[in-house]
Symmetry: C2
Subunit: 349 residues, 2 copies
């Protein structure tokens, strides 16, 4: 019988953050693709677009005028999924299958720059530092609202990720409850902390920094790695080297180092297929419920859909929806590809 | 304070099958959409396509020739994600974060019909009965393979769901382990069974059949409902009215009734936006590990991506990936729309 070769043989890998497995099929990466191709936008964008509702000085759908902002700019989402109004809830019938609860929250949009044509990798480090400061301020302000217990910072980049405006921006959805994925992560972090007295992600990162094979880029304060259990072909996670539970605990050195690694990682992403690389990214960190959360560790996920070119993405469909996430290329191979890419943006060459 | 109105106010609903919540934002369904639109294929397909590797008599990528099949036809997937070869596995280092295990399995493709241009709603009931018989045979045969403990039957329909060939077909991935989603479901079904001595989905279905508002279509043996906790805009689930753990326990009456409801549901789907409605569907049922599984209940999920037209889909992206699944239109409204649609296919009118 052949000995197990993780680079060649179909296998499953375990994700301790959410207690789920992923199916890895390395041999399948040579499969031809005749299916749907994504449109690739190669038209250069203007620095200012009079039609864009996020550009400085323009009018939004609700009639409000954006200020002449010069760095980042935050406003309430005009089509928020959550509402701030308190609701009188009678509760659910005991044992009922129709179990629901009203949910209060605040949704905001964070414009990253007045420049319509820039994205994170093309911004300078100072501009990114400014975004991080904005995230810190929002985490604090929203977290201080009495009924808000969780602040989800995220970005949908690219039309394939449901983003309907290329103007660089992210979103923040803050709410009363811990969202499902965050609660799952918290439960696993907590169980680990209670068992070992240490932080799961800090311990994991130490192992990754020893073996190096899944590290994409690192500096004194952060590392960007392709997690051992990544599900998306080029999924990555940025973790701080120091045990930090939330973004407001960053020193100014850490803010600067985080800005640098964000620029490096997203530049490598763009360079991979010489395209503005789509992804959803999001920060997982301690909830704002007023409790200490030593089990938490600040980290940022990047979930990019592309698989083998600017136009061919991975479809997480039938088997993945009914059964389990599945990937072809191994995390080690993806990390190697990303690691070997230049940190100079292809458009600047 | 206003009283909670589930039809108007943002809220979360609980899914007892997987122990997760979904965020529902009914007021958001009027949000304008300027983002990505999916290509809509309106070109009529030929009954036979000489270029199609699934049509009868044609040659596949590996050089094999398809037989001149007349109903359904099953073959091993030429680019299988799983392999049958047994692998010598040394095990993982105790406590290691790099936890992996080799996985054996068999992947098959099930052609639904020799007709290249038909899909489930356009086939006659006899043709669908034949597919169900094929699924029964495959569940039995694959389940009898000594190392196979789970048989996942599914279909990816439409290019937006990663399907690269419109010839009507589904897939079966059978493997040693219970896939993540199935294991989660089993754990919840089991806990319920141990606590109540009854089947979770049978008890749930009874409640749904009392209130009726989420029922799309039903007959003597099956009901198709939009689950109270559905995440996709037009997600549905077909459940048998009798407690059946697996497809091989169907009586012939049940096979016929299942064929009828499959045709009715998928016809309504096509009629909704007058398009060949994309979805991933899949059957959840008892594993083939040789044990009794009274906690299990046969059911079939349909996860369709479309939201408001043939070209605008729901994006499950940033917040959904980092936080929690989110929907705009309520399950009750979706069920009402589907229920009111004709059972005659729009192309036949
Ligand atoms: O096997 P196919 O049809 O080529 O591939 C499709 O279904 C598979 C199972 O859901 C997915 O893993 C692939 O991403 C998808 O493109
Ligand atoms: O709020 P947006 O950018 O219009 O919408 C986008 O992001 C949201 C949060 O991930 C999703 O719910 C939407 O499906 C997506 O299109």
């Amino acid at each position: 019988m052949r000995k197990f070769d993780i680079n060649e043989d179909p296998h499953r890998r375990y994700n301790p953050l959410i207690n789920e497995w992923v199916l890895v099929s390395p041999h399948r990466s040579k499969r031809p693709w005749q299916g749907q191709k994504e449109a690739v936008n190669t038209v250069a964008l203007p620095e200012y677009d009079p039609e864009c509702y996020l550009c400085a000085g323009n009018v939004r759908a609700n009639g409000e005028v954006n200020p002449a902002y010069e760095s980042s700019f935050v406003f309430e989402n005009d089509f928020a999924a959550l509402k701030q109004e308190p609701i009188d809830f009678g509760g659910n019938e005991e044992g009922s299958f129709f179990k629901a609860q009203p949910e209060r929250g605040i949704s905001r949009v964070v414009c990253f720059s007045p420049r319509h044509d820039l994205t994170l990798p093309e911004m300078d480090v100072d501009g990114i530092v400014n975004i991080i400061h904005t995230w810190q301020k929002e985490y604090t302000d929203l977290g201080n609202v009495d009924y808000i217990n969780h602040v989800q910072i995220f970005e949908n980049k690219g039309s394939v990720m449901g983003c309907s405006n290329p103007h660089p921006h992210g979103q923040i959805w803050a709410q009363s409850s811990l969202p499902t994925q965050v609660e799952k992560t918290q439960n696993n972090l907590k169980a680990y902390f209670e068992k070992n007295g240490t932080n799961l992600l800090q311990d994991y990162l130490k192992e990754e920094l020893k073996v190096k094979e899944r590290v994409v880029v690192e500096n004194d304060h952060f590392a960007a790695i392709v997690p051992f259990w990544a599900i998306w072909p080029f999924e990555t996670m940025i973790v701080s080297k120091r045990h930090i539970t939330k973004i407001t605990d960053f020193t100014e050195d850490e803010v600067a180092a985080f800005a640098v690694i964000l620029k490096q990682l997203t530049t490598k992403y763009d360079n991979l297929f010489e395209t503005s690389f789509p992804y959803s990214s999001g920060i997982h960190q301690a909830p704002t419920d007023g409790e200490e959360h030593p089990e938490w560790q600040f980290h940022m996920h990047f979930y990019p859909p592309l698989l083998r070119s600017a136009s061919v993405k991975k479809f997480m469909v039938g088997y993945e929806m009914m059964g389990e996430s599945q990937r072809d290329i191994t995390p080690e191979k993806s990390a190697e590809m990303l690691r070997n890419l230049s940190e100079v943006h292809y458009k600047q060459k």
